[in-house]
Subunit: 139 residues, 2 copies
DNA sequence: TTGCTCCTCACGTCACGTGAGGTGGC
DNA sequence: TTGCTCCTCACGTCACGTGAGGTGGC
């Protein structure tokens, strides 16, 4: 799959994809200079996840990169998890995962509650306007 | 109140406030060149509303400006509202207000449902990690 | 008078957009 | 061969950040 198709399927642009590769958000992949970039289904999903987090959380790309690197560290830990039988080590890995998940949850929940407040205010405005309209039509 | 206090109270910076004035998001106010900018409580609230919408909806400042201008148009309409007795005109004003509110609601709700999906995924991840931890401790 | 905050350029940065000119695969 | 998409500079833009040098009010 080439860059144009990836861009279309993720709702972004080739330029953005190249930029993310440049700053290390997407893997560069061994590729001869001047050759086309090639992608698979997993690349599409990773990029989709990146743009989703970018749009929903209010992070800089650098912060987002660190967050994703923490995710990958967790994946690495899961591999080590399967290789160790030591309960203490397994617990440590789990605690780290849980801390990371909690940080993301706090970010998401704060945003959600702010959005909910805004929605309530809009609903109240609409309620008022609808009441006035009913009154006007009822006359 | 001077620009530094406004910036602090709204969680932004003097530079941002000056920039918003420059692009017309905030009123310039008649002011002799080189003199300090002065603000009141209403300015603080307007700026707080701007930064809130900026952070929560994913709009460019130009789109945000248009949205706020529509809001002010509604305020203008409310003034005309009080001056007209014509039910047809009042209805037209109301319909326009309702359309505007609905557009904002759609934006907010889409974001909220996306955030809720993300939150559910995080909760599921946490549920799994907690279950593994219980299992490990239970052994 | 001394700090402190303010002022206006003006260049820097982040996250891309947008051509300019050229190369590669169906 | 002809389109089409791709490539790499490289300059432009949006939303500010960050000094540089100077002025104004408690």
């Amino acid at each position: 799959m080439r860059i144009g198709e990836v861009a279309e399927r993720t709702g972004t642009t080739p330029r953005t994809i190249r930029y993310y590769e440049e700053i290390g958000l997407l893997p560069g992949g061994g590729r001869e200079k001047g050759k086309h970039r090639l992608y698979d289904e997993r690349d599409v999903e990773r990029l989709a996840e990146i743009t989703r987090l970018r749009d929903l959380l209010g992070l800089t790309l650098d912060e987002l990169k660190q967050l994703l690197e923490a995710d990958e560290a967790r994946a690495g830990l899961r591999r080590r998890w399967r290789q160790t039988e030591a309960a203490r080590e397994r617990l440590r890995i789990l605690e780290e995962s849980l801390g990371h998940i909690s940080r993301q949850l706090r970010l998401v929940r704060r945003r959600r509650s702010e959005l909910e407040r805004l929605e309530q205010e809009l609903l109240e405005k609409r309620r008022m306007a609808l009441a006035r309209r009913r009154e006007l039509r009822g006359d």
